[in-house]
Symmetry: C2
Amino acid sequence: MGTKIITISRQFGSGGRSIGREVAERLGIPFYDKELVEQVALESGFAPSFVEENGEHSPTRSRLAYAFSHQSIPGVMNGMSIADFLWSVQCNVIMQLADKGPCVIVGRNADYILKDRKDCLDVFIHADTDFRADRIVRLYGESEKSPVARLNEKDKRRMINYQHYTGRVWGQSENYDLCLNSGELGIETCVELIVAAATK
Amino acid sequence: MGTKIITISRQFGSGGRSIGREVAERLGIPFYDKELVEQVALESGFAPSFVEENGEHSPTRSRLAYAFSHQSIPGVMNGMSIADFLWSVQCNVIMQLADKGPCVIVGRNADYILKDRKDCLDVFIHADTDFRADRIVRLYGESEKSPVARLNEKDKRRMINYQHYTGRVWGQSENYDLCLNSGELGIETCVELIVAAATK
């Protein structure tokens, strides 16, 4: 079996994006992250920053944001809410990218969107709270909220979004081919294990 | 980091035991399966077949079996139920075996029992229902119950037992360092990935 389409889902701060980028580089295949956001923005008409923020997250608990995301713009989105319209464009873009051949796609529920393809390796990256809290402070700096609160908020929004659109439990091992604890195994070992599994 | 203590939890029929045996052989470390059962039998006074059947399974739904497992024998088990007494002996035996050095331990909630050690690699093996149903028929033959009913019953009992004694969700990726889909990756690749992760 040759190289596959690799989907990487990840807890916030676990290093999933860095791992994905490195895997793509070693295998010489495209890494879809910013390009995916840009394509969804182009096809949906939303700003890239809006797609980035809402493409794999449920809305924050702000009532205004929630109400907004469940409104639709008449005549533009076939009566769909903004969240559902974004989901539908994202599904199309991800399926088109996968059709082009082996690649790495990070986040955005790609494991579920591509579930009917036989050539995917679905990966989930997680790590304990201390490892992730330390990592986000090093990468993104301090903020008003504690690192743990930032982790919990982001992961809760990813989890709710995943469950809403897929009906599955986020992080349940049966949804993936390979789940890795990057805090315990280390980023480099995660890269090696994914490359080995994808090229077996 | 040298070779670790490897705990392997697994869905019934996923090949976890065969994978564990092969990993132990490649690493030249002990594989605790029958020896563990025998040691628990020796220390508890129960028959090995009773330990094998009840060491990692909640009782079947038979009321008699349930009532029996929640009885205690006065003066022998310090007032504990049979199930709790068996759990306590099993914890001791697993901790003693881990103290001897690197090894592979299959099942029996060893990931949780050894959670305070820093030298463990906790693995969960799963596969889709078709792969496992096919495998148990090839290995254990047909029976009156359908293969799928056999899988569901056995996994449900393991899941309830795990949740009861650990408070964790069985198969949730955060509980393990490495979760592998043996149906998708193949038994041989699972062995290679575990060996690579354990000797990094």
